[in-house]
């Protein structure tokens, strides 16, 4: 099949999607750029660790160096001119962009004509994508809150004193993997999916397939309790006759609690193991206070719940794990 390249072009060239296309290039570029410097520093670190005598006198930086150079330079003109050039370049870029691409303007707003797909602004598409896997109160409220809290907690839970003020990978593997998983794997990637793959009805359209608003997706998702055949048959006998009608609901409430609890226990344990997986991470772990350990563990467990739920959905077609009359997870 040749595929519908026109459709792909239409998505990629939509003016409002240009930032995401740019992001697809910028993020890999800066990852590469940062890791190139990290590698250089890591090599230097390795050399110095191997040779303590040299470590005492070495310059300890990978930037060009001359003993006669001053450690500091005047802001004026050495920093100001860089800022000035940066401002000009950004202005030129913005001008060219604004002259070549027009900001979108659709028909006047009309509550009676639904846009299909109705997409949030691109920077919130990650959250909208989460709506596929979670109810709105999780995807739209709890998750953004946790992201903000989690980010603000970072400096207070990272007990590793190394890598303050220089790029390094080897000294901060755990932190860097975590952040990249969140930022690239769960934020940028979800935005890309929301932009390039989600079409009408928020259905999944592989790139180059045509957005067909008529397509019907047959939902075969089941709740976990249905998979296990929980219907309250056992519970019926324990309940007063008058309330027996509620036994399936009650059974599901009780049942659903256990897989969630199990997930928290297993995931916390795994995170704990990873935090103690090498001599170095063990050393950092010993420096952590109880509050730091618990917070780190909890935040990571909550973050990992995203990919876990996504996989449960994609592989086992599970809709909810825990169904209650008040909320479902």
């Amino acid at each position: 099949m040749l595929g519908d390249w026109h459709q792909l072009w239409e998505i990629v060239s939509a003016p409002d999607n240009v930032p995401i296309v740019a992001l697809l290039f910028l993020v890999p570029f800066y990852v590469w750029y940062a890791f190139r410097q990290a590698r250089a520093n890591d090599e230097l670190i390795e050399k110095l660790e191997a040779d303590p005598a040299a470590a005492k006198t070495a310059h300890r930086k990978t930037q060009p160096y001359h003993p006669k150079w001053d450690r500091e330079v005047h802001t004026w003109p050495y920093l100001m001119r860089v800022e000035f050039v940066a401002a000009i370049l950004v202005t030129v870029l913005l001008m060219v962009w604004s002259l070549t691409l027009n900001a979108p303007l659709e028909e006047p707003s009309n509550p009676n004509v639904t846009m299909n797909p109705a997409k949030a602004p691109w920077y919130f598409l990650g959250l909208q994508e989460m709506l596929v896997y979670f109810d709105p109160w999780i995807a739209g409220v709890v998750m953004p809150t946790l992201i903000i809290i989690g980010l603000m907690a970072v400096p207070y839970i990272d007990a590793n004193p190394l890598g303050n003020g220089y790029y390094t990978y080897k000294q901060r593997r755990f932190a860097i993997w975590t952040f990249c998983l969140g930022f690239i794997g769960l934020w940028v990637a979800m935005i890309s999916i929301g932009t390039f793959i989600r079409g009408p009805g928020w259905m999944w359209f592989w790139p180059t397939s045509t957005w067909d608003a008529e397509r019907i997706e047959y939902a075969v998702n089941r709740n976990l309790d249905a998979v296990f055949g929980i219907n309250g048959a056992w519970l019926v006998h324990l309940m007063p006759v008058a309330n027996r009608a509620y036994s399936p609901i009650l059974a599901r409430i009780i049942f659903g609690f256990f897989p969630i609890a199990l997930y928290f226990i297993v995931a916390s344990y795994l995170v704990y193991r990873v935090m103690n997986s090498t001599n170095f991470t063990q050393r950092i772990f010993r420096r952590m206070t109880l509050l730091q350990i618990v917070t780190t563990d909890l935040l990571l467990v909550l973050m990992l719940a995203l990919p876990v739920k996504i996989l449960l959905r994609l592989i086992f077609r599970i809709k909810y794990i825990w169904v209650t009359p008040w909320f479902s997870i």
């Binding site: 800066y30 860089v82 950004v90 913005l94 846009m115 409220v141 303050n164 932190a175 206070t289 509050l291």
Partner: protein
């Protein structure tokens, strides 16, 4: 006045001529002085009153030039030589700030043409696009600068993370940064509704529908209805000033977008820059630290109570 003045009484004409001579001379002499002075503008009273210090290529003058200027004094007089290279900060914080300024500038110009009302808003955009000189360019620049600012904020955060710049003593500034990022996103989001077109309308509808599901505070959220939430009193209602995205929502978005959030963000930016300096300037590029140099903690101290300055 080499002219004859002694004794001889001149008539009115003579006096006028004399006066003209005098004026001519004043103009010639003082004028020459004035123009000579312009060759060295830094010595003028005007210049000194504005800039307060002479600009010379001396360390003292260079430092004072930065420190005594309200716009430049956010900078220290001197910076880490390696920090002026692109590869450490990527200039992303500065670019973010510059884009904020561009957005303020273009935004104020847009405000001259925009009425936040259901009747006018969309027409104003059409007017801007088709009739206002450079109106289209103005709108495009505002739009794309907003997108660019979001990308720049994310990349800035990414580099701050990868350089470990949130570590002691910059923990708090990282938190200020997180709030700035949230404010940046909210700025962009509130602006999305203002053209009052389908795109903005449905994006904001989708976005604020999530507020319906706020646990306890939204009428469709967990425990919401138990706590007495209805479409007419929950958080979504507070955000939109109504139960649907309509005129009140447009006005609220406008005020958040043009006044409230920019003000709040400016205050936080002030704090952010202030803290960059107070925390000892940019974190690096600093000399690498070795694992063997980690000082062992002297017993457990809770994060909340750990004395500052301890590693």
């Amino acid at each position: 006045m080499a002219e004859d003045n002694g004794g001889k009484r001149t008539g009115l004409l003579g006096r006028v001529r004399e006066f003209a001579e005098e004026i001519k001379k004043i103009f010639r002499e003082k004028g020459k002085e004035e123009i000579e002075g312009l060759k060295d503008p830094e010595k003028t009273q005007l210049y000194r009153s504005i800039f307060r210090v002479k600009h010379e290529e001396t360390p003292r003058s260079r430092s004072l030039g930065v420190l005594s200027n309200v716009f430049l004094h956010l900078h220290p007089a001197k910076v880490n030589r390696d920090a002026t290279r692109y590869n450490y900060t990527w200039g992303m914080g500065g670019i973010t700030f510059y884009l904020f300024i561009v957005l303020t500038f273009t935004g104020v110009l847009l405000m001259f043409y925009y009425h936040p009302s259901k009747v006018q808003a969309f027409l104003d955009i059409l007017y801007l696009e088709n009739d206002v000189p450079f109106g289209k360019l103005l709108r495009n620049m505002h739009r794309w600068a907003a997108h660019l600012m979001i990308i720049a904020v994310w990349l800035h955060m990414f580099r701050v993370f990868l350089t470990g710049s949130y570590k002691k003593p910059r923990e708090f500034n990282w938190c200020v940064g997180v709030l700035l990022m949230v404010l940046t996103l909210l700025l962009s989001f509130t602006g999305y509704l203002l053209p009052d077109d389908q795109l903005g309308f449905w994006a904001v509808t989708v976005g604020t529908n999530m507020a319906r599901a706020t646990p306890g505070l939204g009428h469709e959220g967990p425990f919401g209805s138990l706590l007495g939430m209805t479409p007419y009193n929950d958080v979504r209602f507070a955000l939109l000033g109504g139960s649907i995205v309509d005129a009140n929502a447009l006005l609220r978005a406008y005020i958040w977008h043009c006044i409230a959030i920019p003000l709040i963000a400016s205050v936080f930016m002030g704090v952010h820059f202030w803290r960059v300096r107070k925390d000892g300037g940019i974190s690096g590029p600093s000399p690498v630290m070795l694992e063997s140099e980690i000082k062992e903690d002297k017993g457990p101290r809770p994060v909340i109570m750990r004395p500052s300055g301890m590693v």
